[in-house]
């Protein structure tokens, strides 16, 4: 199904997986019932993990801060419900490694802590920014980059465009889609808050053309011309929602290799983050719950649920009526960039946009056959790299050659591995190479300092 769209700046490459969103597209967002225990993972954002400020036995209210941002690039953490902190434990995190977590046993009252609401038209940008920082907002698209850092670029970098990423190009996920359908005004007001903080006048919302009703719904709202927001429909192609590709598709500017969106005077935010900004400012609600799509062919009744941070995966599956058939893989996030989960008591984080339960016939069987240089990956890589030869260098531990051929520019979107006939785990090669190169650069800096 190709949809008509009005953006004519096509980024290079990209793949076209079946978006299989129909499983959960028509399910309205439902609030998850209160659980008796939540285990909130401490390190939920890119950058330094926040410092825990509660100890065993403390009484906390819903939305009360339980961990303080420990650096500029960090984010506060809030309790999902009222109750007592039953333990500071460790659980298996989303990356499969053991991570520290705070266990909160609910007292059933679910009583919110007192919170201050602000009227954005009267408040100054600094107040709004402080409110967003206090609410612990992070990018909800999956990257979990602290929002306050993105919204306060250095003075030297002038920002003239705010881009809102409604592309949701990952298959299966419909969280943003439902938000756009059910509460467009809240989203638009959240966008306006960002625009006021940044002081930009050009605001564009990019939505992939396979969600025509969402685009229509946004365009109908009267707030568009009040805040001067443009809604553009984008070509349906993964990874349209990637920052660099989205900026190029909407503004024609190319973020320099190794650079940031602010280098081309743009800031990109997610629909979910805008909705959370609305709730933080207008309703004084901190970020302790988010909309997650629980879907996949092995779920009895796929759905979009507003889960609280710290809800274990097993409970989320229970909400959807358990599984049918045998589950080969549980993925946190989308099928293209999500992380395979190895334990059911891993809990929902601010960046968990989806829980997928996939059967054996749907998932890829990596076989690590040699690269036959067929060029499929070269045709689809949106960063215009050469994934095949890069993976051969990395397989032979030649990280110097890989670095010279720009492996650091890889954003691990997975398009190459999706079309590789030899079923090579290309993204795993690149993840490892980037880790080794960063470690080498760090040791070089240390040795330079030591000299």
């Amino acid at each position: 199904m190709n949809y008509s769209h009005d953006n004519h700046l096509y980024f290079y490459g990209g793949v076209h997986p079946d978006d299989s969103k129909k499983l959960s597209a028509c399910e309205p967002i439902k609030d998850a019932p209160l659980l008796e225990k939540y285990t909130v993972i401490v390190g939920q954002n890119i950058g330094a993990p926040p410092k825990v400020i509660v100890k065993k036995g403390d009484i906390v209210k819903k939305g009360q801060k339980i961990a303080e941002a420990s650096a500029f690039v960090s984010a506060n953490l809030h309790s999902p419900t009222s109750g007592t902190v039953s333990a500071i434990t460790e659980i298996i995190g989303v990356f499969g490694a053991i991570v520290p977590a705070i266990e909160i046993t609910s007292d059933g009252k679910d009583e919110a802590c007192e919170s201050t609401k602000i009227e954005p038209s009267k408040a100054s940008p600094e107040e709004l920014l402080a409110k967003i920082a206090d609410a612990g907002l992070v990018g909800m698209g999956g990257a979990a980059f602290p929002t306050v850092v993105k919204l306060s670029p250095p003075k030297a970098k002038k920002i003239d465009t705010l881009i809102i990423n409604g592309a949701e190009c990952e298959p299966y996920l419909t969280a943003d889609y439902r938000l756009m359908l059910e509460s467009p005004d809240k989203v638009l007001r959240g966008v306006a808050i960002f625009a006021k903080i940044l002081g930009v006048n050009r605001i564009i919302i990019g939505v992939e053309a396979n969600k025509p009703d969402a685009i229509e719904n946004l365009r109908k709202s009267h707030l568009l011309n009040e805040y001067g927001i443009e809604v553009k429909s984008l070509r349906v192609r993964y990874p349209q929602g990637a920052e660099k590709q989205l900026i190029y598709a909407l503004t024609g500017r190319k973020v320099p290799s190794g650079g940031l969106p602010m280098d081309v005077a743009c800031v990109v935010q997610n629909i979910g983050t805008s909705f959370a900004a609305y709730e933080a400012v207008y309703e004084g609600k901190t970020l302790y719950e988010r909309v997650t799509t629980i879907t996949g062919s092995r779920v009895v009744k796929p759905g979009n649920w507003r889960l609280r941070i710290g809800t274990p995966i097993s409970k989320a599956i229970e909400l959807c009526g358990g599984i049918k058939g045998d589950v080969a893989k549980i993925v946190a996030g989308g099928p293209m960039m999500g992380l395979a989960q190895i334990s059911l008591d891993t809990t929902i984080m601010k960046s968990s946009s989806g829980i997928l339960l996939l059967g054996n016939e749907e998932i890829i069987q990596y076989r690590n056959q040699p690269c036959i240089r067929c060029g499929n990956c070269v045709d689809v890589c949106p960063m215009e790299l050469l994934p095949g030869p890069l993976s051969v260098y990395i397989e032979n531990e030649r990280f110097d050659l890989a670095e010279k051929e720009f492996v650091m520019d890889c954003m691990e979107c997975g398009s190459c591995a999706y079309v590789c006939p030899s079923k090579r785990p290309l993204v795993q090669h690149f993840k490892r190479a980037k880790a080794e190169i960063i470690a080498k650069r760090k040791s070089q800096q240390l040795s330079q300092k030591a000299k």
Binding site: G96, G333, I364, Q369, L386, A417
Partner: protein, 357 residues
């Protein structure tokens, strides 16, 4: 909600697969790619069997079987048990057979198979690592090893009746062997006085028709141009090969032979003759575009194609061998690593002043 509770099955944790993202795949596999290339080779194979009869079928079957056997044996010794199941050996065997003439003795096939699969491919570690196209390594090896056998060509079926434009090419009484048009051109060029009418006899309209149909002597697979073009178009449609390679290859050969023919008509026939005869179409669409041994970027592919065209015309017009396609592709395969090094494309948003390589 209560009745849902009973059938609440939970996935067993030990059976969950832990792997890197992405978790879904487009379904393409090496086996499918190889099968599609084999299918696009079928028209040329049937044309070969049609015009050269049973001996052609014997050569094809034998070389495919030997190639698969050697790959299976090598993989067993090497411990890679299921590598041979990806049909790449079948494709190499078929390509090798299409490069041999039909009346080649049976023992040429195992030697060719060993040269192609053994030395050409498995020695370098199996599919993906060989610098040279395996089928061509075998063909050139056999051509140099057994020049006499590899250059006795079999006349196609209906070349025997005298009305056939190429009837004169048969030079022995019971019409079992004959010369290829390129071979005749090579010998005719040395005798300047008769060269014009030899060229004329080979380059008239119904001779071209014979070349198009494939009703001419030559290797099994390289004769019928229509069948090859059919397969080639299928390959390009399925995006299995880069179209720049064959187009650049054929265009360069046509251009050079056209120029040379224009300036000194005695040295070589016109471009149409050069395109339709010899292994050019087979080489350009199937041999030069072998994924493993040709460059990965489109810029590299164009350079590769032009290079092949240059060397082919150099050998065909001035060289010692009548047919230069296989030599040129082998030499360009050797140049591919250099081409890849110089046609390295820059990533998205690369700016020369900031990101020095």
């Amino acid at each position: 909600m209560t009745e849902l509770k009973e059938n609440l099955k939970m996935p067993e944790q030990e059976k969950l697969v832990a792997s890197v993202s992405p978790h879904i795949h487009s379904g393409v596999s090496i086996r499918k790619v190889m099968l599609l290339v084999i299918i696009s080779l079928l028209p040329a194979t049937f044309a070969g069997i049609l015009f050269f009869g049973l001996p052609a079928l014997k050569v094809i079957v034998l070389s495919v079987l030997f190639c698969v056997f050697i790959e299976w044996a090598w993989c067993r010794i090497d411990g890679r048990t299921d590598d041979w199941k990806d049909f790449s050996a079948v494709l190499t065997g078929l390509l090798l057979a299409l490069n041999l003439s039909a009346n080649v003795p049976w023992w040429i096939c195992p030697i060719g198979a060993f040269l192609a699969i053994g030395i050409g491919k498995q020695l370098y570690g199996g599919i993906g690592y060989n610098p040279f196209n395996p089928a061509l390594v075998a063909r050139v090896g056999l051509l140099i090893g057994f020049p006499k056998i590899m250059t006795t060509w079999m006349p196609s079926l209906n070349m025997r009746d005298s009305s056939h434009p190429l009837h004169k090419l048969i030079y022995d009484v019971d019409a079992t062997t004959c010369a290829t048009p390129l071979g005749v051109v090579k010998t005719a060029v040395s005798k300047p006085d008769t060269v014009q009418n030899v060229f004329h006899s080979l380059c008239n309209f119904d001779a071209y028709l014979a070349y198009l149909k494939g009703d001419m002597p030559g290797c099994i697979g390289e004769t019928s141009v229509i069948a090859l073009l059919l397969g080639g178009v299928l390959l390009i449609a399925l995006r299995l090969i880069k179209w720049q390679v064959p187009i650049a290859f054929i265009a360069t050969v046509a251009a050079i032979s056209g120029l040379v023919n224009y300036f000194s008509p005695n040295t070589t026939p016109g471009p149409i003759f050069h395109i339709l005869t010899g292994g050019l179409i087979l080489g350009a669409f199937f041999m030069a575009t072998d994924m493993v041994t040709s460059p990965m970027t489109t810029k590299g592919a164009v350079i590769f194609g032009i290079g092949c065209g240059l060397i082919t015309s150099l050998i065909r017009i001035w060289g010692g061998y009548p047919e230069g396609v296989s030599f040129s592709i082998l030499i360009m395969n050797a140049l591919t690593p250099l081409i890849d090094k110089f046609t390295l494309r820059k990533p998205f948003g690369f700016r020369y002043n900031e990101n020095k390589v």
